[in-house]
Symmetry: D2
Subunit: 231 residues, 4 copies
């Protein structure tokens, strides 16, 4: 069974009633529910020791799911180093929504990961632009979300290895919403949907994408990564 660790900042849910109403046990609990049954799931949050990401936790994680927003700077650089090292060794990483600005994503991309945004609750339609990609398995041609925060281009990331989704926003913007990268042996998927004040992670199609993405990002055996001096 694939071992998934959900990491959540877990601040909005404890500070803001509106968010607590949607995610009463935290976004991590809702995300954990996406994977339970077919995966070994555990959760970790910012305010735990080592942010819940001890060496042991990361060692037994196949795919790490990351949600953060208001407290990116509180994530310790040593833990970022540790997560980066595990990704390069092969651990998968799903980066959700406002985690575009997380230290770990910026570290792995090498860019600012900046974008345009507007919290207007307008409609978003995610178009599948790579219908053959396993992350699109079982979807229709697009996913419609009636109320979302807008993210718009330019999105300051490296050109994705593969672009799976592009979003259309009612207000007139577009965004590369599903971006695949490989760094070292690790597969990374940035997926835009998901805001603390809209129940995005209850949507069945979004949940399907998350499961597909975890399957895609699960490490395979690979060949040796041998570095250093040769005889």
């Amino acid at each position: 069974m694939v071992r998934v660790t959900i990491w959540n900042e877990y601040r909005h849910e404890r500070e803001d009633d509106e968010v607590a109403a949607i995610y009463p046990d935290g976004i991590h609990a809702t995300l954990a529910g996406v994977f339970e049954g077919n995966h070994e799931v555990e959760t970790a949050t910012l305010d735990e020791p080592e942010h819940g990401l001890t060496e042991e936790v990361l060692e037994r994680t196949d795919v790490l799911v990351w949600w953060g927003h208001e407290a990116h700077d509180e994530v310790d650089d040593e833990i970022v180093d540790r997560v980066q090292e595990r990704v390069l060794e092969g651990m998968g990483l799903l980066v959700l929504h406002s985690a575009h600005f997380s230290k770990i994503f910026k570290r792995l991309m090498g860019t600012t990961c900046n974008l345009q945004w507007r919290e207007d609750g307008g409609t978003e339609r995610l178009w599948v632009v790579d219908p053959g990609h396993p992350i699109a398995d079982g979807l229709d041609e697009s996913i419609e979300l009636p109320e979302t925060e807008m993210y718009g281009e330019p999105f300051d990331v490296p050109e994705p290895d593969r672009l799976v989704f592009t979003s259309w926003f009612e207000g007139g913007e577009v965004f590369r919403s599903g971006c695949c990268y490989q760094r070292g042996n690790g597969r990374i998927f940035y997926f835009r949907p998901g805001h603390e004040t809209f129940p995005i992670y209850e949507n069945d199609e979004i949940r399907r994408v998350l499961r597909n993405a975890v399957e895609w990002a699960t490490p395979t055996e690979g060949a040796p990564r041998t570095f250093g001096e040769r005889e």
Copy 2:
């Protein structure tokens, strides 16, 4: 001076009064006007001998601009072979709008180049998703076209080497509107805007993109393409 050859099917303009009103001398004449002054420009059309694309014409062409729509099948396979060979040697190629279905583009892509479409005259906004790309030089963050034909994803082309524009359409669709490819030594740019019943090629920003794209696609010196048996 860069030598640009404009190829146009030149049928709609002679058959349809609405089109003739917008492009009285043919789309090729309007496109030629984009480049005159700073480029050596010539034009070629379907009904000329060898479609105007003799070996001599292609030999002296740095960048070929291609517009076609209703008569793709009438283009002779031998001429397609000839154009493909020149592109692989280094000649640049701009493929405009409905030329996504031209034989030469399908030949170079290896896919169907199919898409979704609707001739509704709605608004299109082309977002620059790669602001550092030379084809985006001097543009704003987006180009707005008040009335266009819609093209929607999926667009059955190989993942572009670089994606410069993504279009937003009023009706709810998105499209990868500016796609860069290299095949052999030749640089290829697919650019979506441009319909026979809307005066797209009179738009200053679109004209700027066309000039930028020709500059980008102009062949450089390169290194030898040596093939065959080695000693």
Copy 3:
């Protein structure tokens, strides 16, 4: 079970005693042996009606393996159309060695697929340059083949989506020996090793790569490829 169809030109083995000694039942029989047990395997050859690639055969094929050399031109264009269509729908395709010059590979790439070569029986070492790729699963850092035909750069193909192997040749050349592409929904892997006068396909590591590549190229469910006019 994944359904694999091996296509072989099957001429050298019937015309040349040296080749017949290595591949007495044809290269297709040896390749079929790579997959038997865990796959449904069938074979098809040039001189069968429709080259053995009827609509029914292709319809039930998950991954097609292609070996050809001296008779590429005898492959009927209609069959090439049929194979291309199936690849774009999602069928995987493995293109082996001298099949770089097959009609189907050139069709899907859009380039000449030309290269340099020398039949010198020197050593080849295939380095894994993407150790996290599933096609490299279980390999060492490189595969050594004591006697091969040399293929050298430049290799006139589009930049691969991912490059898995690069070959070193005793005579001083290098070659991109394992190239991944996606075209439409289909995954394509070009793999260099394999000559009719060297028993390459008996090598255990090469056989492992072939099995890994078939697994990688097996179609997944995907999302709809809907084209045409929208309401």
Copy 4:
């Protein structure tokens, strides 16, 4: 005129007689000589205040060339931040040889940038694998260096946007020796050749590559990089 700043660690040349014999005025002086005449050239070294890379210097630099080896860790993180920011804004960056392990390259790549190596003085042959790329302008099919340090795969970098050179080494290894990346608006070229104990930067073809690479990496005008909240 393109403004080039050469950054050199400048330690080996002051500490080691063998290196001083080859580069008596420092590697930066030799590299400056590659560009003098057609470029505005200045140099900067590790032991200057702010490593010679003040805001003013970076502001007026079009392309920064970076050579470092034994003292990567002494480069201040604030200066790395500053260089990264300028690259993302559009400044070009050439990363030479052992600078694969520089902080700035690791920062921009997001990976370890590790590799295999052996200081054996064997022959290297750099094959042009992308003969249409402007960095290959005017070269032959390969460049031969009689004595070099070996670098071998795997090279832990993201898949290059374009791969221009692949090296063959006498000892049996291969390496992706010329790798193009874009990050933000900046163009980055990693170029392998160049060791402190071999006079690589005196080689005419290597010097040609350096000039081509600077031309390729020179910033173009671009479009706005507008981020943040939209109305």
